[in-house]
């Protein structure tokens, strides 16, 4: 007689827990579905139509064709190449610098907290306000950077207004000219020797970017260093290993999951770069700092081509997802001995 009663009570309890759980989950899920999950698919949908102010005719993959090989191809590949160059300049420098700083900071010492705070400060300052400071430092007429260059006998530079490549500038200072090899046709605005290197403007944005993110990477590296068991170090010291050997044979290999993690998120971060580009250069001069993130904004917002913008956004997403999945898989493999 008691059995069915408890069964019913149990069922009622389970039903109650279900209802409560749905009520708890609903608000978050609703917002996430509408503004974060479904729009991901909507982007793909929109990229398949003609769509400027309103939705137009179905165009299949025409927008992708326009972006990849058609009328917009030159701008797209230029911005992709700028994005990759920007990544290649910033990420390795960020990693080496932050790894060295974290390694130095990791050892117990006075003032460690103060250093960490100072290094971290740029990361929490808002991108727009902070990049305004760098624009001022790199001002061609009154900027401090040119004053400093003057001390070492180098003439004033145009910095964020300088479309010429840094190698071209250095070569020019010695009176050399670079061979005129370029993937873009002679009449194209992107025509520049492939040996010219990134524009000084892009290097300027990169200097800011490195300054902004370094403290963040230091904190991640410090956490990674903290995860390495002290036993390894003690064993190595007993065997008479030098500090240098300890760093290259123990710290670096055991830290590699962290290094890999930092490299991936730094890469993804630079693929998405928009705010600093908008604030510092607006993609100029001569589009040498126009990253893909900025190009998407330019095409969809300033030119009103929602369809082409969506197609570019989907392409960027595929690239970013590639890195994310890569990161997940490698991280998964590391967990077993992490």
């Amino acid at each position: 007689m008691t059995r069915p009663a408890t069964g019913a009570a149990r069922r009622r309890r389970i039903l109650g827990e279900n209802v409560l759980a749905y009520a708890f989950v609903l608000p978050a899920i609703l917002v996430i579905l509408i503004f974060q999950f479904l729009p991901g698919f909507a982007a793909v949908y929109m990229s398949l139509f003609r769509w400027d102010i309103v939705q137009g005719a179905f165009r299949g993959l025409d927008n992708y064709q326009t972006v990849l090989v058609g009328a917009r191809a030159e701008e797209f590949w230029q911005s992709l190449s700028v994005t990759l160059t920007y990544t290649v300049i910033t990420v390795p420098v960020e990693i080496v610098l932050s790894l060295v700083l974290a390694y130095l900071l990791f050892q117990k010492m006075r003032g460690r907290g103060i250093y960490r705070t100072l290094y971290y400060l740029p990361y929490i300052t808002s991108v727009i306000a902070a990049s305004v400071i760098f624009n001022w430092l790199m001002n061609p007429s009154y900027g401090l950077f040119n004053t400093i260059l003057g001390f070492v006998g180098i003439g004033p530079q145009q910095w964020l207004d300088e479309p010429r490549g840094v190698i071209e500038l250095i070569a020019g200072a010695f009176g050399w000219t670079l061979p005129d090899w370029s993937p873009f046709a002679a009449g194209s605005q992107f025509h520049q020797s492939i040996l010219a290197g990134p524009s000084l403007a892009l290097v300027g944005v990169s200097i800011y970017t490195i300054w902004h993110y370094i403290g963040f990477q230091v904190v991640i590296f410090l956490a990674g260093l903290g995860n390495i068991s002290n036993e390894y170090y003690e064993a190595a010291r007993l065997d008479g290993a030098s500090e240098r050997q300890i760093f290259t044979k123990i710290t670096l290999p055991l830290l590699s999951p962290t290094t890999f993690f930092v490299a991936t998120i730094a890469t993804i971060g630079s693929l998405k770069a928009f705010n600093q580009i908008y604030a510092m250069t607006n993609g100029g001069p001569l589009e040498t700092t126009k990253t893909l993130g900025y190009e998407i904004f330019h095409v969809f917002f300033q030119q009103g081509r929602i369809d082409l913008g969506a197609a570019m956004a989907v392409l960027l997403t595929v690239i970013i997802l590639g890195f994310t999945v890569f990161q997940f898989r490698v991280a998964e493999r590391r967990v077993h001995y992490g």
Binding site: N18, I32, L38, T324
Partner: protein
């Protein structure tokens, strides 16, 4: 030797802040003088008042504050509830819903930007409001994950004891779980709040009028209008940066721990 390297880097990193403040106190004449002066010869405190008066800063800060409070509170409530359900309740479809969250976490903001823009401007007619800067951010997958992780670590014995005492889930959540989660809640609050303070691209796209624009858009606008007044520009940058620096100095423990634990990079 180690200290020399660390201190030199610290100087380089801190220098732009010094240069900002130093320029903010100079006259225009002194700011553009060659060679530049390391310290302002006279302290032009009025630069801050001039910069403040040149644009509707009070409005920008008020908008950011309203958006920040609404988003942070809203996100805390939705995330705490969802995280609790995922951590401590059993329900049908839990796995499937959690999978959707996981998938959402992989979708970058670049993919959702354009559809969201079309949605709020053309279909929801929310352009140029404070709501359009609040509603899309009332939930965050990241916060749900972070809180769920923490809620799971709360010992089951506490839940059993609460059940024996006749406490329902809401009372257990409010009376036991939340008080045990203060540090994580502070971390979520800080990360969300700083995120709102830094918000730029979305408000730039969906707002037109100063009445609803937040601080960072105001800063970009100020730069376009008064960009040649370097001393005023630096004064404005100073009062835009100052609030986050102050908050950071007081609460850095929570932020840095949160970052180290989760590796989130804004």
């Amino acid at each position: 030797m180690k200290h020399v390297v660390l201190a030199a880097v610290a100087l380089v990193i801190a220098f732009p802040f010094y240069w900002m403040i130093s320029t903010a106190f100079k006259s225009f004449f002194e700011a553009t003088q060659f060679p530049p002066t390391a310290f302002p010869h006279e302290l032009h405190l009025e630069n801050f008042a001039t910069a403040w008066g040149d644009a509707p800063w009070a409005g920008f800060f008020r908008n950011t504050l309203v958006i920040g409070v609404a988003v942070t509170l809203g996100e805390l409530v939705t995330s705490v509830l969802a995280a609790y359900a995922f951590a401590r309740l059993e329900f049908k479809g839990k796995g499937a819903i959690f999978f959707i969250l996981l998938a959402t976490y992989m979708i970058p903001g670049e993919a959702t930007l354009i559809p969201n823009f079309v949605l709020v401007t053309r279909y929801l007619h929310m352009a140029d409001t404070l709501q359009v800067q609040i509603i899309p951010f009332l939930a965050s997958v990241f916060s749900v994950f972070l809180l769920r992780q923490h809620f799971r670590s709360i010992p089951n014995e506490l839940a059993d004891a609460a059940k024996v005492d006749g406490a329902g889930h809401l009372r257990f959540l409010w009376g036991v779980v939340l008080p045990l989660s203060i540090p994580v809640l502070v971390t979520v609050t800080l990360i969300t709040g700083l995120g709102v303070y830094d918000a730029f691209q979305w408000p730039l796209l969906v707002t037109n009028s100063d009445a609803v624009r937040p601080v960072q858009v105001g800063m970009a606008q100020f730069r376009t209008e008064f960009g040649a007044q370097y001393h005023l520009e630096m004064a404005a940058a100073t009062f835009v940066i100052a609030p986050v620096v102050v908050i950071f100095l007081f609460a850095q423990r929570y932020l840095i721990q949160g970052v180290a634990r989760t590796g989130i990079r804004g």
